[in-house]
Symmetry: C2
Amino acid sequence: MSFSPLLEELIKSLQCLPGVGPKSAQRMAFHLLDKNRRGAQQLSDTLAHAIADIGHCQRCRTFSEDDVCKLCLNPKRQQSGQLCVVETPADVLAIEQTAQFSGTYFVLMGHLSPLDGIGPDDIGMDILEQRLSQEGIEELILATNPTVEGEATAYYIAEMAAQYQVNVSRIAHGVPVGGELELVDGTTLSHSFAGRVPLK
Amino acid sequence: MSFSPLLEELIKSLQCLPGVGPKSAQRMAFHLLDKNRRGAQQLSDTLAHAIADIGHCQRCRTFSEDDVCKLCLNPKRQQSGQLCVVETPADVLAIEQTAQFSGTYFVLMGHLSPLDGIGPDDIGMDILEQRLSQEGIEELILATNPTVEGEATAYYIAEMAAQYQVNVSRIAHGVPVGGELELVDGTTLSHSFAGRVPLK
Ligand SMILES: [Zn+2]
Ligand SMILES: [Zn+2]
């Protein structure tokens, strides 16, 4: 005994979503069929549209339905001479929300991970190297995550950038502003001490 | 600053799914675009297909792409004379998995909830009454949830069924088999005492 074939198929299809198992997929299917068929139709349409049209920006690799994204097309951004390397499009959004940076970005869409077979070309190193060699970038800011993979990726990019006339910097790691010292993990606290700056 | 318009639209559309907020929708969108476009395409197709074709069984109201579902069409089931009333299609599945019941079902697709404007017709009472008057059902088993709404709904149906020659029963509530007495809530334990049966 199971649900009708089409309902079973819907429950199975919903499990392509990350974090959605059989039980939540069933709950989602019931909810959509019972309470929100209009939302379901819109989701179906938008999914099809997104898959067909969203690719990657040719300059920064972020998700974009245009060949070059709006941010990369902004001439003021281009003239800043600063290029910030991040792992995901969500990181771009987080940095933009600080309003502290007015350069352009390069989105790796991941990080180096030899064990998973993710090498330099998979994170766009060919495109980044081309940009470094052609664009007269003054500062390359490495804002990959402070994880083992993120640090290794930052190190790899720094090595590569050494061949070009470009200053390479890494964002600071330390105790979060507003955080309590006793609640911060040991690694972060070590970073915070190692990276201490003199008070003027 | 935000993502590209189409990506924003996808993130918003995914929030029609129950339990999915902006953050998980973003994670889902990235995952589908980056890692599983094929799954996303299939989800889009299946959703469209399901919305267009899945309706309700004319006899039992469960989700079905056929006018009458497989279970209702089964002549052995029809001849059993037993009709079990449940709140959701998932309840049918749960009861079928016990292999203890070989009659047909009636799926309310909810329960009476006057405060939410859900009255008898919204849970198919017109169809149920018609079946009770026409089909010579011998036993009506009320298997709504043991919640305030489920009990009230069961009571309502029992009252209605009193007009027809049909025995009405309610599934037993009590301490779950294999459960520990001290971990069972008080209401269940009270039910369990009130519904005690003599040892033969
Ligand atoms: Zn771009
Ligand atoms: Zn049916």
